[in-house]
């Protein structure tokens, strides 16, 4: 046999040294910047009237081929939450494998004025992080951030179902088809299939008040900051549907909470929020920080090549030293 023990040791030590010294392998992770062509949604809770048109249109649009709810086996059917008679009344209470987009209502007591409570709607779906935890977590690149649009898409043919994306996503967005024997992850893909055909997100298309506004993220960020600078009580021409389409509606400016949610959270997201009520009350996990989540695991993963190298060298050296010591002991014994 060509390979003997010594060769093997040389090999392991050699590989180890190469890996241990190759600092380039563990170079700092590239900071993901927002693409200039990135698209997203600005949701202004103060404009939302809770009509749920967005939910209805979302379900319809995504049940079509290419949509996030489309399945060959159930082509042509809209995936309702309830079966049978109840199908007519489709009001999910949380995101699920059948619901990508959800309007929820918050009702609370105001501290300022007695009797009159705070009230707000909130729309939940994937936030399309600038640097998404789920994409960094997925071991098979089933979840990808599209170059250009920055949409986080999902490829069910790559996914093997480890569900690490569900663990990783700080917003708790990816849902799993638990009831299927051949399940997929389900999440909003910002109507990537419609954008590919020149359209835009179904929820924004259906929104009558401009609460869900589609556009380039940079434009939306400007729009959001502009709104925060408006004086409450003035009127403002709010863009509707798509920020580039020029359609507007005149509304009285409400009292905003001085924060654009999604500008900094989790390192920034392409879906942003404005509201008149504290965001903690609107169903956002208060433990979410501005941390770029993938950095947390990269801090470990980036060191793996060096660790491999160091451990191989350490193992080989230990073996060589203990062998030499044994030989010395034996020589001493036979010398006596």
């Amino acid at each position: 046999m060509a390979i003997n023990r010594r060769d093997f040791l040389k090999f392991s030590a050699g590989t180890g040294l190469v890996l241990a010294t190759d600092a380039k392998v563990s170079a700092a992770r590239e900071k993901k910047e927002l693409s200039p062509d990135a698209v997203g949604i600005l949701y202004d809770a103060t404009l939302c009237i809770g009509c749920m048109s967005c939910m209805v249109n979302c379900k319809k649009a995504n049940a079509e081929p290419g949509g996030a709810l489309y399945h060959k086996e159930t082509a042509g059917q809209i995936p309702y939450e309830y079966e049978g008679e109840e199908q007519k009344y489709d009001a999910p209470t949380s995101l699920s494998d059948k619901t990508l987009c959800l309007i929820k209502a918050y009702r609370g007591k105001s501290e300022k004025e007695e009797g009159e409570g705070e009230f707000s709607f909130i729309k939940q779906h994937c936030l399309h992080c600038v640097d998404p935890a789920c994409v960094s977590a997925c071991p098979v690149q089933a979840l990808k951030k599209q170059p250009g649009t920055g949409i986080v898409t999902y490829d069910k043919n790559r996914c093997f179902g480890c569900r690490y994306c569900q663990v990783a996503c700080p917003f708790g967005i990816p849902m799993y088809e638990w009831e299927k024997s051949s399940p997929s992850v389900v999440k909003c893909q910002l109507c990537n299939h419609r954008i590919a055909q020149g359209g835009y997100s179904a929820c924004c298309e259906a929104c009558p008040t401009g609460a869900s506004l589609f556009g380039k993220v940079t434009d939306l960020q400007e729009e959001a900051k502009r709104r925060l600078n408006l004086k409450a009580g003035d009127t403002y021409a709010y863009p509707v549907n798509h920020i580039e389409h020029g359609k507007t509606t005149e509304q009285v400016v409400p009292e905003y909470v001085d924060h654009v949610y999604g500008l900094e959270e989790a390192g920034g997201t392409q879906y942003m929020f404005l509201a008149g009520v504290d965001f903690d009350k609107l169903g956002f996990n208060p433990k979410i920080t501005n941390q770029v989540y993938p950095d947390l695991t990269w801090e470990y993963v980036s060191h793996v090549p060096q660790l491999i190298g160091t451990l191989l060298v350490a193992g080989t050296v230990t073996r060589l030293v203990t062998q030499r010591m044994e030989k010395k002991n034996k020589d001493n014994e036979s010398g006596e």
Binding site: G161, V167, S181, P183, Q291, Y300, I308
Partner: protein, 374 residues
Amino acid sequence: MESNPNIKTWTPATMVMVVLIIVGISVGLYRMIYGLGATTNLNDAYPWGFWLGLDVLGGVAMAAGGFIIACAVYLFNWKKYRPIVRPAILTAFLGYLMAVLALFLDIGHPFRLWHPSIMWQYQSVMWVVAMHVIFYTTTLALEFSPMLFERLGWEKARRAVGKIMVGAVIFGVMLSTLHQSSLGAVFLISPSKMSPLWWDTKLPFHFLVSAVAMGLAMVSFETALSKKFLHHEVDKEIFTGLARGLLIVLGFYLLLKLYQLFTVASPAMAFDGSVEGNMYLLEMFLGVILPVAILAVKKYRNDLKVIFAVNIIVIIGVILNRMNVCLFSQESYGAWRGLGYSPSWKEFLVSLGVISIGVFLYKMSAKHLPLFSH
């Protein structure tokens, strides 16, 4: 070489195991046909449950004994432990097989288990974990193969493996060290969901050190069992040596955990009466503080019966730790989302079946393979 006549194949315990295996396989088949929802109580707030916590995380930690003893014998040349190197490697091999089996059932598409090997995503800890599982299971098969070759009388094959054994051990130690820590690193990405009683940037290191403790306890535990039931005579020194090692590792782990408690979390969190706090206290008192306190007394450290009992609570303690990290640390997050999780009876039966397969194969190996003749 002949089969060991001292070991009877059909004992009541074996028959119970065979029944559990058959039941486990049946439920496993049910899961393959009807899916995870019909079999488990997993949900979108608890995507990982009992199988992941016990069979995968626990099973892999249990297998740590393999690389520790191989490292002690082949790299540090501590000859004292040579008699237990084969059982330790076998345990590791079976531990990994069990983990792979559980993973196979746990992932949504079992027959795509191989996907990570061609669809690379090197930024993902999960990919790193998957690669380690593949390489380390292969390495363990190689380290295990001499027992099979000896039994079959394949001298040439045995000698060929013998030549690369040391290299395999060096690779195995590297792979295993990284795999244990990578499993901890998996959870680094969810500080917004886990209780700070467990989440820490040093989680990979915590996992590694506790796995070493678990490995030592496991090797000592099963050596004692083989001594009693499989009539395998071993020196008392092996047990006391392992107990000393356990004391050192567990003592160090206690310091790590205390440091984490005072810097990242706070003692108040542990004593606030919440589910997380109580589980943390249970894990720490049973699996860490109590064993350290007992082993610190020299008289107990040299008492085989005490060592045996300590090993058991350490094993339970580390398994509890893995369950806590995987499940209970997310209790308040789950409650906030309005979802809870407790395993279904089907999940229990599959886990029991998987464990029974491991124990059954160990026993059969002890009977038919040269496990102790060294």
